[in-house]
Structures are given as C-alpha cells and as structure tokens.
C-alpha cells in the first residue's frame, strides 16, 4: 500500500502530462497541439527550476539564461552545421549544464537576495556576450532555411515531431524531478532549503549538492531552447533571454506548490491554460493581463502555498500521494 502511494507521487504528474499530450490527439486540431506545446514548455521550465528553487530553496531569476544558451547552441548546430535535431538538443542541454556548473561554483556561495540578484546579472551578461558573438549572428541572430524541415518530411511533420519531443522531454523532467525528490541527494537538498548550516552539520556537502542541483535544473531548459527555436525557425538575443520568462516560471511553481513534483505541472498547466484561454476568448482578450493579474493576486492572498500545498494542508491524507 505504501509502495502504491509512493508510486502515485510519480504516476499522477505523469498522467497529467500524458493527458495534456493526448488532448490534441483526441481533438485532431493543430492549434490544440500548439497550445499543448506551450503548456508543456512552461511545465518543463517550471519543473526544472523547481529542482533548484523548490528543493534547494535558491530563488533564481536567471533560469531563462539556460534556455537561451542551449537554444543558441542547438540552433547553431542544426541551422549552420546541419546537425540532426536530437543530438543538437542534447549538446544544447550539455552547454547549459556546463555553464551552470561553472556559475554554480561561483555564485552558489551567495544566499538569499544576493543569489537572486547575481542570477539576474548572469542573464544580462550572457545576453550581452551573445549579442557580440559573431558565430551566433551577433545582434542579428540566426535564421534557419525552410528546407531544413524537409529533412523531417516537411514543416507539418517537423512541428508534429517537435511536439512529441516536447512530450518526451516533459516526461523526463518530471521523472528526474521525482527521482531527485525521493533520493538521498534530494533529502540533502531539502535539508539545505530548511537550514543550510544545520544541513552541513548533519553531513550534507552543501556546495556540491547545490552545484549538482543547479546543473540538473539547467540541462532541461537548454534542451528545450534548442527544440523551441528549431520550431520557430529563428533565434535572436531579444527572444532567447527574456527575463519575464524566468519570473513566469517562478510564478507557476508558486501557483502549483513549490518543492513538490506535481506542483510545477499543475502550476504550468493552470497558468498557461488560463493565459491561452484569456488571450483567445472574445470577451477577455482585451483585458487578459488585468484578469491574469487579479487571479494571481487572489491566489497569492488566499492560497500562498499553491494548489498542491493547499491540498496537502487541507487534506493531510493526500500528503503521501501528492509529492
């Protein structure tokens, strides 16, 4: 029974992701596939950030830097070096992981607001670097020839394939997030979140644990960036490093419930679905930002622990299931 309850902690978010993936397959609407892609992209960003923010307690405003860097590296390999998409995505992820490793050694010594500020600085610094890096097109960025899609059977198939890869990536992020959550390593991260000094006294090697959490959380947005810009056919500094996207990822985690596996899935789904609905609804589309702001205000005022946090608090029995 306990084993089943533990498995549900993984099965529920996976089921949710699969339901999102099945939605466009059931309706056979290409626009639903695109909406599902946007939701899964948001979930991947939020779930990967949750490894650092939710488990370790380090608030990063620079999470999107990994998305941008991985996107650039992957896009360069596909569009300029003519690499196949999947290896290019993996190299994009590794590039972001490497950046996180190097950064982690330096800035993870900072705590609280200082760390948060440093992550904003990193985003700006990398953007400035890319803006002046000619192999990546400098400020002009890179554009991909439409015929590249022919290698995947045309644009229609390429976009379909991008969607399946998106589903797979989201599932992997959720599984990795769960493995971290239930592992000894994850326990160490949670201890750091509660009290870093006490965790060190108890034998957690905090600098190493934090660095690996940072690396792990950076790899997935890197892979995601390569996929996203492949699908868009172009990449430029302005699109690759939007600070607002980092903030949105934090909001989604807070909405869903930080530090849980299913929280970012619920938060990403709720936030992006609501945004998509408000944007395209005839009645709300001109006031969608106002309505979004009001909803956020209501949620933060009344359920600050997020949807999952509220459920866990209100119905203690769900704590074993909603991890």
């Amino acid at each position: 029974m306990k084993r089943l309850q533990s498995s549900l902690g993984l099965l529920l978010p996976i089921l949710l992701v699969l339901l999102i993936a099945a939605w466009p397959l059931v309706t056979s609407q290409a626009s639903d596939r695109e909406s599902a892609f946007t939701i899964l992209k948001a979930i991947t960003l939020a779930a990967s950030l949750n490894i650092l923010l939710g488990y370790t307690g380090y608030v990063s405003f620079g999470h999107i830097v990994f998305f941008g860097l991985g996107g650039y590296v992957g896009f360069y390999l596909v569009a300029v070096q003519n690499w196949p998409l999947v290896p290019a995505m993996l190299v994009g992820g590794l590039a972001s992981g490497l950046l996180a490793f190097l950064l982690g050694k330096a800035i993870l010594q900072l705590r609280g607001a200082y760390f948060a500020l440093a992550t904003i600085g990193v985003n700006e610094a990398v953007r400035a670097f890319i803006n002046n890096f000619q192999p990546f097109g400098g400020p002009i960025g890179l554009t991909m020839n439409f015929k590249v899609y022919q290698q995947y059977g045309g644009a229609m198939q390429a976009l379909q394939m991008a969607f399946y890869l998106m589903v797979l990536l989201t599932l992997i992020v959720v599984i990795v997030s769960h493995r971290v959550r239930v592992s000894k390593f994850g326990l160490g991260l949670l201890a750091i979140r509660e009290d870093e000094d006490a965790a060190e006294v108890m034998g957690v090697v905090a600098p190493a644990a934090k660095t690996w959490a940072f690396v792990l959380s950076a790899i997935f947005p890197g892979i995601l960036g390569a996929l996203f810009f492949f699908k868009n056919g172009s990449v430029e500094p302005h699109d690759a490093f939007p600070l607002a996207a980092s903030i949105e990822a934090i909001v989604m985690i807070m909405l869903g419930g930080y530090g849980t596996v299913i929280g970012p899935v619920v938060g990403g789904l709720g936030f992006q679905w609501a945004r998509g609905f408000l944007l395209t609804n005839r009645f709300f589309k001109n006031i969608q930002l106002t309505v979004t702001g009001m909803l956020l205000l209501v949620i933060v005022l009344f359920i600050p622990a997020g949807a999952i946090g509220w459920l866990r608090h209100r119905f203690p029995k769900t704590r074993r299931v909603l991890q």
Binding site: P139, S234, K285
Partner: protein, 430 residues
C-alpha cells in the same frame, strides 16, 4: 473581516467585467461583420457574396503596442472602406468582402505560432497579415508556409525571413538592407567629392542588419568606410565615438538605431561642432519629437517607409492626402508610416484579388508575383526568384531632412528620392 476581503475582491472582479463589457470591441471586429451588414439574401440573385477572413496577431500589449496598433488601425481603415464601398466585384458577379480575426501576441514570440496555427486552422483565415516586427514575423512565416496561406508582411523589414525558401510570404516594407542605401545615393548625387564615410550604429538586430548592408553598398559605390563601430543601446555619452569620428576624418556619418540614442547622438555631434557634411540616422529623425533638438536637428536626414509629404502619384488606391484625411478623420491622430504600411497591405491584397479576378489563393499568389504598381505608399514589386521570394524590390525609402522654413520654424522635408522630393537637400550639414 475575511468576508469583507472576499466581498471586495468579488466587487473588483465584477467592476472589471463591467468595464470589459463597456469597452468597445477591437477595431478588427468593428470592421469585421461584413456578412451581418449585408446579408446574402438582400443581394441580387446573381451576385454571390464571399467574405474572406484575414487573420493576424497584433501586439495589443508589450513593447510593440504603439507601432503595431497603428499598423492595425491602418489595415482596419482599408477594410472598413472597402466593405463600405460594397466590396470587390469580380467579373463573374461575385462580391468579395472582408472580415478580420486577430489576437494579442503580447509582443512576444512565445505564442505567435500557436495563434497563427489557430488562425489558419480553427478560424479558417483565407489570408494572413504578419505580426509587427521581424522576429515575430519569422515565427509566423513558418506557419503560413506550412498551411499554404498567403501572408503579407508589414512592419517586418529584416531581409533574412525572405531568404529562407518561403513562397507564401510577401513583404510590403523596404527591406533593412536598403534602409540607408538611398542615403548613400543621396550623398553621391549631392557631393561626388566626398569619399570618407563613418558608420556609428546601435548594436541591435535591426540597426546592425541595416548598416552591414549599407556599408557593403557604400564600398560598392567607391566610398572609403573609415569607421564602423557599434554602441550599446543604453549609451548616453557618445564622446568616445565622436572623438573616433574626428580622428577618422569622416566627412559623412550614417547609423543610429532608435529614437533615444539617435537624438542624443545628433545633439552631441552638434554640441561638439564636429565638422561633418552629412548625417543620416535611423528611426529618430522622422519622429516629430526630433524637432525638440532645435538647431541640432537642422540638416539631419532620416529614412522613413512613408511620409505624408511624399508626393507619389498612385496608379491604384487613394493619394497620400486622401489617406491622411480619412485616417485622421477615423482615428483623430496623424498617421505614421506604420499606419500607412497597414493600409498599404490591404490595398496590395485588394489589387491582387482584382488582378486575379478570383479568391483562389493560388491565383492571388500569382497576381502578387506579377504585381508592379505604385501606391500612395510608393512602388510595390516582389522578388520572384527562389533565393528571395517575396522580398520587396520595388519600394524605396523616402528620406526626410529637418530644415528651417521662411519663418525660422523647423519642418520636415522629403529630399530623396528625387521624384518624391518636396525640397532641395540642405548641404553641407553645418
């Protein structure tokens, strides 16, 4: 206490909904219900009425809000006028009217593909108009091409999008690569003795694409590019760049980027009394606020996609004056070149349908390929080669210069091309 808070929030939400209900529908939808205004059964039996749906995203929020809003207003004015005039009547008696569907892209690439897919599939848009900006248009072009929908781009000057093998995308604006080419031509026509040119530009996507092409063009024309230097978009002190210009011995300076940096650069060049003969900057000079620089604005040249002053003689559609009058009457604001671009996109679409004498997308596309006409906006002709299909090759920028009139007041004058000029160029600069 808690109940009071709940009550307040409910009241706020209710007030918000009430406000939303009072807010007028977006202009795209105001002009849209052509079907409702002229139901098919009221038409003579022979005249079948077809309503073509035109889909686009507009940046109703975010940093492109102003420019995109003007573009949409220009397009909606055309749609309103054509529908009010009874639509387009084809030779078989079919009356073509137009309806628009649009969404807010938030000036953000994230949802552009999602929204264009929705326009192409769920809303069954027959034709598409691009979002504002080259970045958003690049993402939308993939979808337009995928679904075989003709997309007219306006507000998207970058050349790169049209060199990616697309066949459905047609550009209204002069491409970035030719933004400053006319300035080089103007310089050559004005003073053939000038040989040293400096490029000082904002290090951003748009400005860099423009000056890289202009540099190549200037070198082709035999100019010696003595300085080619980018500056950060946040730059407020151009002292070091000005010193480099002086050291280089440049006689003409081209570059700039956006309004703030461009106007600061022009002011500091004037204050330091740099002995240059010719100054052409991107974006800033055509803006009316540029006149706030006073004497520093005199003689500064700037490229614009369109100016109300430009005296083109259209062989289709209204004259510039007629457009300005109808736009001002409809929206109570002066049209910018973004507004003119939106209106011109509608005119091009209308002409293509008239030339094709059909609503068949393939025939409309063929008509666009064959198009060669002059609008109040300027000349329109598209590249039909496989390398750059849809790239605008007919339209050219107009170049304005700030000059003082007889009363000593600053006023914009069109100085290039010669056939649209309203005044002789003021040369040398200081």
């Amino acid at each position: 206490m808690k109940r009071k808070v709940y009550l307040m929030i409910l009241l706020l939400l209710a007030a918000m909904l009430a406000l939303a209900a009072c807010k007028p529908a977006p202009a795209a939808e105001e002009a849209a219900p052509a079907e409702e205004q002229a139901p098919a059964e009221e038409m003579p039996a022979a005249a079948e009425e077809v309503t073509l749906t035109i889909g686009f995203t507009a940046s109703q929020t975010g940093k492109y809000e102003t420019s995109s809003g003007r573009q949409v207003r220009g397009f909606n004015l055309w749609m309103q006028q054509i529908n009010d005039a009874g639509g387009i009547t084809l030779s078989d008696g079919t009356v073509v009217k137009f309806a628009a569907v649009s969404y807010d892209d938030e000036s953000n690439k994230d949802r552009v593909q999602e929204l264009y897919t929705r326009l192409a599939t769920e809303d069954n848009a027959d034709l598409l108009i691009s979002p504002y900006s080259s970045g958003l248009t690049a993402a939308a072009a993939v979808i337009a091409e995928q679904y075989g929908k003709v997309m007219l781009t306006t507000g998207a000057a970058s050349d790169a999008t049209y060199k990616q093998g697309y066949t459905q995308v047609f550009q209204i604006y002069t491409p970035a690569s030719r933004y400053l080419a006319g300035a080089v031509d103007l310089l050559k026509a004005t003073d053939s003795a000038v040989s040293k040119v400096a490029f000082v530009y904002e290090n951003s996507k748009f400005s860099t694409s423009v000056v890289e092409a202009a540099k190549a063009y200037a070198e082709e024309q035999g100019y010696d590019v003595v300085l080619f230097e980018g500056y950060d978009p946040e730059t407020t002190d151009f002292g070091s760049f000005i010193n480099k210009i002086i050291d280089s011995g440049a006689e003409a300076v081209l570059g700039g980027g956006h309004f703030q940096d461009g106007s600061t650069f022009a002011r500091q060049l004037y204050e330091k009394e740099v002995a240059i003969k010719f100054l052409a900057l991107l974006v800033a000079p055509p803006e009316p606020d540029f006149a706030d620089l006073g004497d520093a604005a005199v003689g500064v040249i700037g490229p614009s996609q369109w100016e109300p002053l430009a005296a083109f003689t259209p062989d289709f559609g209204p004259t510039g004056d007629e457009f300005v009058q109808s736009y001002t009457a409809a929206y109570d604001e002066e049209p910018s070149y973004h507004s003119a671009g939106g209106y011109a996109a509608g005119l091009v679409l209308e002409k293509a349908i008239r030339d094709a004498d059909s609503t068949d997308p393939e025939k409309i596309k063929a008509a666009l390929d064959a198009m060669d006409l002059t609008l109040f906006f300027g000349k329109i002709k598209f590249d039909t080669t496989a390398e750059a299909h849809g790239l605008q090759i007919g339209h050219s920028m107009v170049y304005i210069q700030w000059q003082k009139d007889a009363d000593g007041n600053l006023a914009k004058q069109v100085v290039w091309p010669a056939d649209g000029a309203t005044a002789e160029v003021l040369y040398p600069l200081h």
